[in-house]
């Protein structure tokens, strides 16, 4: 047990790593590649001390309805975001969806990469970014939506828990995995035996592709600690 109730395998491991993304204007993008993607990105923040987060009205996402969280607010000791949710993530999603013209994320986003430093903040985020209403976050994983083949697979890269959390690189690595999915390049970067060997490993015999078919839009979330900073980026196919 790391810190009750979190078990060791629910925590990401400290790692060494690096990642980069090249951004450019539209003209240059088409000069560089036949598979460019548009990027929409926005950030939010909140107090460093979770316990300092005073109760505030919930900013509603386009598909949410006024009054839908009245019961949530009436629960004893309830405060939003309190200890249960992240205002920084909700703010970042609010602005990112606004910029990208997204009305209902579950319908319009084909896959996500979330910052699963621990399982708990991953589950909390499903509500913040509107894949389920607050209070029903667990249903996103329980329903199968979060799995490959589901409505909106999450962390096909393995995320932080599975793959890595070299902190400064993480929020870029998740964007890279989104880009490769929308470009249709999952197999190229995960299935090439030469890449496995360059990392001193052997490609498993039971390797299978996690390429999402017809991926048009992918969202990734970059999150600080207990939600003092969150940035949300959306990669959209532009070819």
């Amino acid at each position: 047990m790391a810190t009750y109730p979190l078990h060791f395998l629910e925590c990401s491991a400290m790692s060494d790593g690096a990642a980069c993304l090249l951004l450019c204007d539209e003209k240059t993008a088409y000069k560089l590649t036949d598979r460019p993607c548009e990027l929409y990105i926005a950030g939010g923040s909140h107090t460093l001390r979770v316990a300092d987060r005073r109760d505030m009205p919930i900013p509603l996402l386009p598909h949410e309805t006024a009054g839908m969280y009245e019961e949530l607010n009436k629960r004893e000791g309830a405060r939003w975001p309190g200890f249960e949710s992240f205002a920084a993530a909700r703010f970042a999603a609010y602005f990112a969806y606004g910029m990208a013209g997204i009305k209902n994320p579950l319908d319009e986003i084909n896959l996500i990469e979330t910052h699963d430093a621990f399982t708990i903040c991953d589950i909390q985020t499903y509500g913040d970014i509107g894949l389920r209403p607050y209070g029903q976050e667990a249903d996103f994983i329980e329903s199968g939506d979060a799995y490959y083949g589901g409505k909106c697979p999450a962390n096909l890269s393995g995320g932080l828990i599975g793959t890595m959390h070299a902190i400064g690189a993480t929020g870029i690595f998740l964007g890279v995995e989104c880009l490769w999915q929308v470009q249709g390049k999952y197999d190229q970067f995960h299935g090439d035996s030469a890449i496995w060997e360059s990392f001193g490993k052997k490609k498993p015999a039971d390797w299978h592709s996690l390429q999402v078919a017809n991926a048009n839009q992918a969202l990734w979330e970059s999150h600080a600690g207990v939600g003092s900073h969150v940035t949300i980026g959306i990669m959209r196919k532009a070819f």
Partner: protein
């Protein structure tokens, strides 16, 4: 992974970006077009090196282009991309590199935990655990209580992500969890 220094790690990512993505211009041509660099890492403490962004910009051969070091804790990567995006969107730059790294293997786990816990309020929180999971755990406890979240649901998230990581070539230590399947 003691095989590389932090700027050497950054070089691996930079070269992969330039050489392996089927870009229509050659690496020197692409590199020559970069006119802004946003570079980030979580903490100078891990690298025990200040101004890593200067080391990295120099090592990749991108000086004297403007580079800015970006930090926002675990969201550093996203903020680094946001900084590069703002440079392009504003017209300030045509091509911007967003690059991030971390070298956490140079301290033992307890010290690493302490460093990360320093991203909590130094006077009122850090001394109460000096470990980051102690800041997440109260959120887990309260969320579980409020939403009746089961350990099984949390485990499903972990198992899913571990299984997807096993078929990813890059992680250093993917774990094959034998318990539970979806």
């Amino acid at each position: 992974m003691p095989g590389m220094r932090l700027e050497e790690q950054a070089m691996v990512a930079f070269r992969q970006m330039l050489e392996k993505n089927g870009l229509k211009l050659s690496p020197p041509e692409v590199k020559g077009r970069i006119n802004f660099i946003a570079a980030g890492s979580f903490a100078d403490h891990f690298q025990d090196q200040l101004l890593c962004e200067a080391k990295v910009t120099d090592y990749l051969g991108l000086d004297p282009m403007c580079n800015i070091g970006v930090k926002s804790g675990g969201a550093t990567g996203g903020s680094t991309v946001l900084s590069a995006a703002m440079a392009i969107a504003s017209g300030y730059a045509d091509v911007a590199l967003a690059i991030g790294w971390e070298k956490m293997s140079e301290v033992d786990t307890r010290t690493g935990n302490y460093y990360i816990s320093m991203a909590a309020c130094k006077d009122f929180e850090t001394r109460l655990g000096r470990i980051y999971s102690a800041y997440y755990a109260p959120m887990a406890v309260r969320f579980t209580w409020a939403n009746h979240l089961s350990e099984e649901t949390r485990a499903k998230v972990a198992v899913k992500n571990h299984l997807y990581a096993i078929i990813h070539p890059m992680p250093s230590s993917p774990a094959n969890t034998p318990c539970g399947m979806y």
